[in-house]
């Protein structure tokens, strides 16, 4: 009998050990598989295509350095166009704030400007117009970060410009953020007033713990509950308890009063939190020397190619050639006309991604039918083709034309886009756009 029980017991034990071992393996496997990876970019590719193609188009973006040290400056400059055909699905940019897309305050914003005006406050933006921006950052936490210019638009959300990887080197402890108050005091925003805040919190925490300990040292639950249930609740609060309570009340009010008086004496000049909405005029409007009328725009899914047929009219007095198409921070280049500087993030550039047929200059006064091909996997990797699922399957962007002297004309483009899902399909439908 004893032996049987022992054998059964050890079998159960072995089973338990096996179950535990299996559980441990599964737990470790899940832990390894689901271990969070470093999130250093901003998920710009997860933004729906209409947010990236039919709102603000950033161009001429430049970063002053690839690597900075803690406390050193990084300056991000460029322009953005608030597109005329702002998506109907979201609120118009009646209030926006020039922000910067970094993973938290790993860099601090020293200054920001829109068209040379201080960009610390929000402003309305005008559709169809261009704005120039400048953001001055300073390194704070060492690491490698994806840094974007960004517009926050009320009731719409964040609109990200192109991002570049910037490395911050050095020691985070050496970071300082000096500011001089209008009363002449020099302070460090990174370490200001925390000692006083913690002291005040400590005072109240000590008082609270004292009051709790006063009661917790007595029997708490069952004896008191029984007493209350037997109608003896009044006896549970003694005159001493009341005296202690009155004392605590007086001490609390005295500390509060003394604190307020002392604080008023220490900081006689204080103001309310500040906020303002500004009116920043856009850049002067360029003359409309070129117009585009799209006849047909398709996205050939198997070939990852946007193909469009458009009539382009040159109203200017110089011949022009199509050199670039930019949308959602991506740049499709016609290498025979325009090239991108080496410091622009290569993952955002398709060097030969813009094929124009015919590629000859469009003469002044001439209207020409162009066949334009933009082939690249970035349509998929940047998830722009997901616009098929958007409420409005329209693609937008900026075409850039160049005259022989290198002067640039920017033409906004917006059109319906029809997808071709199968290899041998042809499209006969017409799209309208301009």
């Amino acid at each position: 009998m004893t032996i049987e029980i022992s054998a059964e017991h050890s079998q159960k034990k072995i089973g338990l050990i096996k179950a535990l071992a299996l559980s441990a393996i599964i737990a470790i496997g899940l832990l390894v598989a689901m271990w969070p990876r470093l999130a250093a970019a901003h998920g710009e590719r997860s933004e729906p295509p209409f947010l990236r193609m039919s709102t603000a188009q950033f161009y001429d973006t430049q970063w002053s350095a690839k690597t900075i040290k803690v406390n050193e400056e990084l300056i991000v400059t460029g322009r953005f166009r608030i597109v005329e055909n702002w998506s109907f699905a979201i609120a118009p940019p009646r209030l926006a704030f020039l922000n910067v897309g970094v993973p938290g305050p790993v860099m601090v914003r020293e200054a920001s400007y829109i068209d040379g005006v201080n960009g610390a406050a929000s402003t309305s933006l005008e559709p169809g117009r261009d704005y120039e921006y400048k953001i001055v950052l300073r390194g704070r936490i060492p690491g490698s970060y994806h840094v974007h210019p960004m517009l926050d638009v009320l009731d719409t959300g964040a609109l990200l410009g192109p991002g570049n990887w910037i490395t911050v080197e050095g020691n985070a402890a050496s970071f300082t953020d000096p500011v001089t108050t209008l009363l002449g005091n020099k302070i460090d925003l990174a370490h200001y007033g925390l000692g006083a805040v913690m002291t005040w919190h400590a005072i109240w925490i000590v008082l609270a713990i004292g009051w709790l300990l006063y009661w917790i040292r007595k029997p708490l639950l069952i004896p008191r509950y029984e007493a209350v249930m037997h109608g003896e609740g009044e006896s549970l609060v003694s005159p001493t308890d009341r005296l202690v309570g009155i004392g605590l009340l007086v001490v609390t009010l005295l500390i509060l009063g003394a604190g307020v008086v002392a604080t008023r004496a220490m900081y006689p000049v204080t103001i309310a939190l500040q906020s303002a909405w500004m009116r920043i005029p856009p850049l002067p409007k360029q003359p409309d020397t070129i117009s585009i009328k799209a006849d047909r725009v398709v996205y050939y899914v198997p070939g990852r190619t946007v193909e469009l047929w458009a009539k382009v009219t040159n109203h200017g007095d110089k011949p022009v050639r199509l050199g670039e198409f930019t949308t959602a921070g991506l740049r499709f280049m016609n290498a025979t006309v325009s090239k991108v500087g080496a410091d622009f993030p290569p993952e955002l550039v398709v060097p030969d991604g813009l094929v124009v047929e015919p590629n000859e200059p469009i003469q002044p006064g001439e209207t020409r039918q162009l066949h334009i091909l933009m082939t690249s996997e970035v349509w998929e990797t940047d998830r722009l083709t997901a616009l098929v699922h958007d409420p409005s399957s329209r693609m937008g962007g900026l075409f850039m034309f160049f005259d022989p002297e290198g002067n640039r004309s920017i033409v906004e483009f917006d059109s319906e886009m029809l997808p071709i899902f199968r290899r041998n399909d042809t499209q006969t439908a017409s799209a309208s756009g301009s």
Binding site: I205, P219, L220, A227, I246, T252, Y267, L273, Q274, S275
Partner: protein, 254 residues
């Protein structure tokens, strides 16, 4: 089965001392559980209802912050105060909850917002409600009346929140010049320490008719905070009452 092993009634405790020890163990166990529970519950409640006002120094304005924070945060202490007082005659529920809240908030700020998101601690410290909680508890103990506590205690809760936190926030309201803009130090911190999800226009600071109604909205906000704290206290107390009634046992089960 042997006769000696037959079950027979035995006293739960061998002596009064054993009983007291057991009650003490129960007291401390329940206390430890309640600390963790209310740190989580009250903190989540505060994050959902007060949120950004308590996260950032540059959200702690003189109008909405001092009105909204005490008003919504009195509900849970009111409910627990009723239960603690009605069932145990213990006058420390509000102090206990406000202490739990501030401890949980410091944990959240240090580990989450400072440790993981790199915000400096001087930009993200929490407000305190402990003095308000102490006054609320002492008033209940001294008066033994829920009505008086609602009027005097809850009124004091609403009125004292601002002075209790003014001593913390005043130094951040000193003016400074940021590239030609007049800003408080708190504003400057909000501008410097980048928040990608909290643009400047989201802040609700002293906008609206209250500003045009009076030169300084603080007093009007305080008056409203006092009144609304009384109302919400009564609502919270009623919730506590419902949770102690046997006919609402289904509610407790939920």
């Amino acid at each position: 089965m042997a006769t000696g092993l037959q079950a027979r009634p035995r006293p739960a405790f061998e002596s009064v001392s054993d009983q007291q020890k057991a009650f003490r163990v129960l007291d401390l166990t329940v206390a430890a559980i309640l600390v963790v529970l209310f740190m989580a519950l009250y903190h989540v409640y505060a994050m959902l209802t007060v949120g950004d006002w308590d996260f950032w120094v540059d959200w702690k304005d003189q109008r909405y912050w001092i009105l909204w924070t005490p008003t919504v945060l009195i509900a849970m202490p009111a409910a627990m105060q009723y239960i603690f007082w009605e069932k145990f005659r213990l006058p420390f529920a509000a102090t206990f909850l406000t202490l739990c809240l501030v401890l949980a908030e410091w944990l959240n700020r240090v580990i989450n917002m400072h440790g993981w998101a790199y915000f400096p601690m001087d930009f993200i410290w929490p407000a305190t409600l402990i003095p308000c909680g102490i006054v609320l508890d002492v008033v209940l103990m001294l008066t033994g009346s829920y009505v008086m506590t609602a009027i005097i205690g809850a009124g004091a809760w609403g009125a004292l929140f601002y002075p209790a936190n003014w001593v913390l926030i005043a130094r951040y309201m000193v003016p400074t010049n940021v590239h030609g803009f007049l800003m408080t130090i708190a504003d400057a911190m909000g501008y410097h320490f980048v928040r990608t999800g909290t643009p400047e226009y989201i802040r609700l600071i002293d906008r609206g008719t209250l500003r045009s109604f009076s030169d300084d909205p603080v007093w009007l906000s305080l008056a409203l905070a006092v009144f609304l704290s009384m109302v919400v206290y009564a609502i919270g107390m009623t919730i506590g009452y419902l949770f102690t009634r046997s006919q609402f046992i289904w509610l407790k089960r939920i």
